[in-house]
Symmetry: C2
Subunit: 167 residues, 2 copies
DNA sequence: CAAATATTATTAGCCAGCTGAATATATGGT
DNA sequence: ACCATATATTCAGCTGGCTAATAATATTTG
């Protein structure tokens, strides 16, 4: 989670650039800042959710289920959150244990199960989400509308850069 | 690592905002984008390092050791990368196993050990870092100098926002 | 100096999370 | 009816993190 405590100072980077001539200092500098903020954002969310005994994965599953009150299959949840069915089985086990979801046989497809949010699960979301959105507003209140638009555009470019970097 | 595959569309967000009136839609939208790029950046680095059998943590430890050729204590490595000594012992064990570092008794402080990078470890860095810096340049080549400065400023504001969000 | 306290690092035991392979079962197309 | 495919679970195995207990050594203080 990119937890290097102190980013290298310019002297350190200059030394590295001497050893590795392909190092473009301005590119590395902004990358380091981006990675650090990335890590900070992720940690921030993880720590917030941990106070409610949730991981990002469990949180997303609950939200997906809230959006689909009739329930979703394990494979749909796995696809929607980017993990294997095996992993999702484990996540659902955890949520079942905490009585936040139910898992019942699917009547349409008898290989499958339907996972659905319980009222306990919905109550948890009703407690967590308001605080969460409040945090989001606070974090993002540092940026005005123009800045948000700017950031959006810049991040889109970064994403495009990530997509090309498969070498 | 924020792997919700499809960000919610505006209809979905609007429905959420109905249920949770404190949800400020523009703040949530930019936060979602930021979190997604954060996750993408982290995944990108993790996947790159995994090809060389490294985790972020191991990578940072090696870099710290390269910067300090006389070696560092376990506690210094732990502090520098934000984990407990117990965890760092495990990380160092892994690096020892791969012959990337040595661990020897500290002569100054006989409670302590000095961990130092081996020539094998340095050779690994000499193989990994050029590719890494090349990737960094590629990712960041999407932004010109003005945009980098902008991004830097915007990310600083986000960080400031994160610092205040402890509620 | 001696005793109490701190620090350093390791070990052991625990848990979350992820994967791939093997398995059982059900589906759907031919 | 048959065969390939899809669904989900279980299992063994890995990483990686934590705490608490322990042992050894340093440091501070009476």
């Amino acid at each position: 989670m990119f937890e290097i405590i102190d980013l290298p100072d310019s002297t350190t980077i200059a030394k590295l650039a001497q050893r590795y001539p392909m190092l473009e200092i301005p590119a590395l500098e902004i990358w380091l800042i981006l990675m650090r903020v990335s890590g900070d954002c992720q940690n921030d969310l993880d720590q917030f959710l941990a106070r409610h005994n949730l991981s990002q994965r469990k949180f997303f599953v609950l939200i997906l289920l809230m959006r689909n009150p009739t329930g979703l299959n394990v494979s749909q949840l796995a696809a929607g959150t980017g993990v294997s069915c095996a992993t999702m089985t484990g996540v659902v086990d955890g949520l079942l244990n905490a009585k936040l979801v139910t898992r019942e046989a699917d009547e349409q497809d008898r290989r499958a199960f339907v996972v659905a949010i319980t009222s306990t699960g919905q109550e948890l979301l009703d407690r967590v989400l308001p605080r969460h959105y409040h945090r989001v507003s606070r974090i993002m209140s540092m940026l005005d509308e123009t800045e948000r638009t700017q950031l959006n555009g810049l991040l889109a470019k970064v994403r495009a850069g990530l997509a090309t970097a498969d070498a």
